[in-house]
């Protein structure tokens, strides 16, 4: 059985859990990890709410979806999740400009050392005062070749579209 992995990242409350829930074939699982930061001083085990979803592609191939923990103190998990990932979806809450700086930090982390295929999903486009994908591109300072896609994480077609767009980016880089 071959497994491939995609990572869904974004600031707290960007919609990562919802995104994975909407498309996963299994109930989204929260995993537990031992924390390595100062929370360990308070208790030995700290729960890292890390979302995990799964899509069976065929009998011998499975796609795993991992949502990164949004809180800064769990940054150490990002490195682990990034290993061997196929591609990355960066979710942004389009209605909360206060999260754009954090989103940039996340993009920088995942992209700067790796040539990671990624797309940005401008989530919550169904809400009033959502910044449009083009405005988000400017606010996040993304170059024109990076796809910034409209998204509503609760809508299956919208989530499918984001994943497909990411897969098209991966497809361009894949070997014949």
């Amino acid at each position: 059985m071959q497994t491939v992995k995609m990572v869904i990242s974004g600031a707290v409350n960007a919609g990562k859990t919802e995104f994975i829930k909407t498309i996963s074939e299994i109930e989204v699982v929260s995993t537990e990890r031992r924390a390595t930061d100062d929370t360990r001083l308070i208790k030995k085990e700290t729960t890292v709410a890390m979302d995990f979803g799964r899509i069976a592609i065929s009998d011998d191939l499975v796609l795993h979806l991992f949502g990164t923990p949004g809180q800064k103190r769990f940054d150490f998990m990002w490195e682990i999740l990034a290993e061997g990932m196929l591609g990355l979806v960066i979710l942004v809450d389009s209605t909360r400009p206060e999260t754009f700086r954090e989103t940039n930090r996340i993009i920088d982390f995942f992209v700067s050392y790796r040539d990671t295929p990624y797309v940005i999903a401008a989530n919550k486009q169904d809400r009033p005062n959502a910044w449009s994908p083009e405005e988000l591109r400017l606010a996040l300072r993304q170059p024109p070749h990076i796809k910034v896609l409209p998204c509503t994480a609760t809508d299956r077609e919208s989530v499918k579209n984001v994943l497909l767009e990411l897969l098209y980016v991966i497809q361009e880089r894949s070997e014949d």
Binding site: E98, R105, S112, A130, L138, R141, L167, E175
Partner: protein
């Protein structure tokens, strides 16, 4: 749809940069405690900055000593008669009541001072209304004002590391020009220390090395570079990406196209 937020979270410099790069037309409404401001933009350039409603009225030109009250009244009468998409500034210049240069100079100075004051606001709600234009009788600069140097001025007033660290997390990063900076520089007025930093950017030296070579503090170098970044002139790269030696970038696994196609087909069918 309007863009809303707070300059505490998305700074005024960042917003001006967005307007500049996005060639936005519209009005930016700002409020902080009992203060207000309204900035009008045309294709990414500033037309007018009002710190109070009276700044959008023709009488501003009397307060600035450009015209007397009779001349303003005369121009307003002509504007009402001719109308048809004309602006007060066009009437003033066409009728010779004031030269374009004099009008530009006075309104540019007023506009810049108005915007500089806004950078002192620690927070404030903003709302950008697309395509909202000033009234025809508003005193507009004949030539819309480039906002690059306003962005730099905003950055000069940053005195906390935290905001700068959001964009510049380490002094081991290497600043690199995105394109030859000539065109962008035209609209900017750099301070001597900023020139020192600017002249040392070569796409190889880290920020720490630039600080060492210029004798400036890390903070001063990073602040200047933050300004160049916000103005869209630079990018920061990690040294490993610049130099062939050292740790190579992590290779992504190369997948077979057939495998990717299988995943695509599966997602499509869901």
């Amino acid at each position: 749809m309007a863009l809303v937020g707070n300059i505490r979270d998305f700074s005024l410099s960042d917003f001006l940069s967005l307007v500049d790069r996005g060639y936005k037309t519209g009005a930016l409404h700002l409020s902080h405690n009992d203060q207000m401001a309204r900035l009008y933009f045309e294709k990414g350039k500033l037309l007018l900055a009002a710190r109070r409603p009276e700044d959008e009225k023709p009488e501003l030109l009397v307060r600035l000593g450009v015209l007397n009250a009779d001349q303003v009244a005369q121009a307003c009468r002509l504007l009402a008669e001719r109308g048809n998409g004309l602006t007060l500034s066009q009437i003033l210049i066409d009728t010779g009541l004031v030269s374009a240069d004099r009008l530009q100079q006075a309104l540019m100075s007023h506009t810049e001072q108005s915007v500089y004051g806004l950078f002192a606001w620690p927070e404030g709600d903003f709302l950008f209304e697309h395509n909202q234009r000033p009234a025809p009788d508003a005193p507009l600069a004949p030539t819309p004002i480039s906002i690059d140097h306003l962005i730099m001025e905003g950055v000069r007033r940053i005195d906390e590391w935290e905001r700068i660290r959001d964009r510049i997390p380490s002094t081991d990063l290497v600043p690199r020009f995105l394109a030859p900076p000539g065109e962008k520089l035209k609209g900017m007025r750099l301070a001597p220390d900023e020139w020192k930093v600017f002249a040392r950017i070569n796409g190889r030296d880290t920020l720490a090395e630039i600080a060492q070579k210029t004798g400036l503090s890390d903070f001063d170098v990073c602040r200047a570079v933050y300004g160049f970044l916000t103005a869209g002139m630079l990018e920061l790269v990690k040294r490993q990406r610049v130099l062939a030696a050292g740790m190579p970038p992590v290779e992504q696994p190369r997948l077979k196209k057939s495998l990717v196609n299988r995943i695509i087909n599966r997602i499509r069918s869901m």
